[in-house]
């Protein structure tokens, strides 16, 4: 990068866990990562994994078809709980989609070299998670074929979207986030697509990768502009990451419902998003590095660092829970106090305590150094956080709505089969896209790993 080298180089060198196992050359990295894509033999676990995920995609398609044909009454939503699973899942997925761009952009600006072997698939994960997220408000509309009414365009109807509504902000925030993440991901892929073009032996892959690489040839002047553009995109994506979940939290915080109307929502949502995003990266990275033998590139150091980020953001989330409870008491507002009592001891109370268990108590194990470098322990904690974050959104969306101001308007929500179908279906869609990605595109940024090897070589000469 065009920036000065970091001064505390020695702290980095003292770290006992390496960023990349020693003994790798430019050629060995290129061959190892591109071989995963260019091999003609697909490993059996890929077929099994993709097959199972695709079955869930079929469930999703079936449910969507039913929802479109019959209506959103198939969901468990009713008045007062009109948001239900669809919005819980939307917020959950969009939160997961925060780690990729955070790893790529913020860690790039902070010059954290450990981002380099995990950024590519974390970005892909972001794209797929945001795609899953976008699906939910769409099908929740009831008449998804009118979704384009949310965008301002010269229409003959003479009406326009209401820009004073956070729901319209959301449309812009999520679609901008998706577009920028896609550009960032694709820009990073171009040099690697050129590598695949040059290494592919068949005519068809050569043609496809060649077209996608757009004639990239690694010219020094191109690299110069490329790095500048990449840095600027990172700078642009950084405030964007923070803004997206902030805008999502406005959907709640701007409303008057007890449990939603709170100024703590934006920071607490952003921390939660990063928390769940890193949990999902770990959930995917740990099996992936085992199955594809990538322990040399995704080392224990990467896993440990992600564990530390999870612990830190998890503590911010815990602080958020604490403050929510404190506000409810300190405000003296009977509705707020009732909301909190209902959340903890009402009929959905068990969910709140499960959420505290999965999201706050289990991750405390990360204080222990040995847990942070133990892949199975990390995987289990990451899973626990994924579940915990989903429960958090359920508690916020459903429990708050089910008991608002007037007892006569109270109700009880329970999910239907279609709710569950769409939820597991979206997980299937996410995993299917991820399986396709690891089969057809390099899951680790090859050129950045070459740069890393070069830096290590220079360091060892010195």
């Amino acid at each position: 990068m065009a920036l000065e080298p970091p001064p505390e180089e020695s702290a980095e060198a003292q770290d006992s866990l390496p960023l990349i196992e020693p003994g790798h050359t430019f050629a060995s990295i290129t061959d190892k990562i591109s071989a995963i894509v260019l091999t003609s033999r697909t490993p059996p676990f890929w077929y099994i994994g993709f097959g199972l995920s695709f079955i869930l995609v079929l469930v999703l398609l079936y449910c969507i078809a039913a929802l479109v044909a019959i209506g959103v009454g198939l969901f468990g939503i009713m008045i007062p709980v009109a948001w239900g699973f669809a919005i819980v899942n939307f917020v959950w997925w969009i939160g997961i989609g925060h780690a990729g761009t955070l790893i790529s952009a913020i860690l790039l600006l902070l010059r954290q070299k450990w981002r380099q072997s995990i950024n590519r698939f974390a970005e892909a994960m972001t794209l797929f998670a945001v795609a899953c997220a976008g699906l939910f408000p769409l099908i929740h509309l009831g008449r998804p074929w009118f979704a384009y009414w949310l965008f301002p365009y010269p229409s003959t109807m003479g009406i326009q979207p209401q820009f004073r509504s956070p729901l319209v902000w959301d449309v812009f925030a999520v679609s901008t986030y998706f577009t920028v993440s896609l550009l960032f991901w694709f820009l990073g892929l171009i040099p690697d697509l050129a590598t695949l073009r040059d290494r592919a032996r068949g005519r068809v892959p050569r043609f496809i990768y060649g077209m996608l690489a757009m004639g990239w040839r690694g010219s020094a002047i191109h690299w110069y502009r490329y790095e500048m553009a990449y840095l600027l995109l990172a700078g642009l994506a950084t405030p964007l990451v923070v803004s997206v979940h902030t805008v999502v939290s406005f959907d709640f915080a701007v409303a008057l419902v007890p449990g939603w109307h709170s100024t703590i929502f934006p920071p607490y949502f952003v921390a939660g998003a990063i928390y769940s995003g890193f949990a999902m990266v770990l959930t995917i990275a740990i099996p992936l590095r085992k199955l594809y033998g990538l322990e040399d590139f995704i080392t224990l150091r990467h896993l440990r660092n992600m564990g530390i980020v999870m612990l830190a953001t998890g503590m911010v989330v815990a602080y958020g829970y604490l403050m929510e409870t404190f506000f409810a008491w300190y405000s003296g507002d009977i509705f707020e106090k009732y909301m909190m009592m209902n959340r903890m001891f009402g009929s959905y109370g068990w969910m709140y305590w499960l959420l505290i268990l999965f999201n706050i108590l289990v991750p405390q194990a990360l204080w222990i150094a040995r847990v942070r470098t133990h892949d199975i322990a990390l995987f289990l904690i990451a899973l626990s956080v994924n579940i915990g974050m989903w429960l958090e959104r359920y508690v916020i969306v459903v429990v708050s709505l089910s008991r608002d101001f007037m007892p006569s308007a109270w109700g009880r929500y329970s999910a239907t089969l279609v709710d569950y179908g769409v939820f597991v279906g979206s997980i299937g869609l996410f995993l299917s896209l991820l399986f396709l990605f690891i089969r057809f595109l390099p899951m680790i940024s090859i050129f950045e790993m070459r740069g890393l090897v070069h830096e290590e070589e220079v360091k060892s000469v010195e």
Partner: protein, 178 residues
């Protein structure tokens, strides 16, 4: 100087440092129409070729400003002129509520300018380029480093330039078919 029918001469190096040194030598020798190729960005290489500035930041800044103004006035026009709605007596130009979308559109247009700007400046997509005719060049995306001197350079002559490239630590010099 004889009329050459080749695009240029390309020399192969096996590490970034020798390519960088060679680029400095070639620039000092007076060659200007040249390019260097590496499998990862090498610091200082573009500068060694005499390339110091890029317009990418200006393009991104322009995109960002246009996105910001366009985003705000889009909302202003829609909410005040085209489709005014009185919401609880608030002013039609309720600008604080226009900030989130203005911000998102600033980022969106700036990011699109960065992406398409860098492609346009680099002249991509360009499916054909003479360097691809060199068989060894496919290693430029793996582990080899190349320095190209174009025949269009005024100081180019095929024998002399070849000798020069052979003597600056290269592993081989190849002709580039146009």
């Amino acid at each position: 100087m004889e009329k050459t029918s080749i695009y240029g001469l390309i020399a192969e190096f096996d590490n970034a440092e020798s390519l960088l040194a060679a680029a400095h030598r070639a620039f000092a020798e007076g060659f200007r129409k040249m390019d260097a190729y590496s499998p990862f960005p090498v610091e200082g290489l573009a500068e060694a070729l005499g390339f110091h500035r890029t317009r990418v930041p200006h393009i991104v800044l322009t995109g960002g400003i246009l996105g910001c103004l366009g985003g705000f006035f889009l909302q202003y026009w829609l909410a005040v002129i085209d489709y005014p709605i009185n919401v609880g007596g608030r002013p039609l130009n309720s600008w604080p509520s226009f900030i989130p979308v203005t911000f998102e559109l600033t980022i969106l247009i700036a990011a699109l300018s960065a992406f398409f700007g860098v492609l346009a400046l680099n002249g991509l997509p360009m499916p054909y380029h003479p360097v691809f005719n060199v068989e060894r060049f496919e290693l430029a995306s793996r582990n080899r480093f190349f320095l190209l001197i174009e025949a269009a350079d005024p100081r180019f002559d095929s024998a002399g330039t070849r000798r020069f490239l052979e003597n600056i630590g290269s592993h081989g010099v190849y002709e580039v078919e146009p």
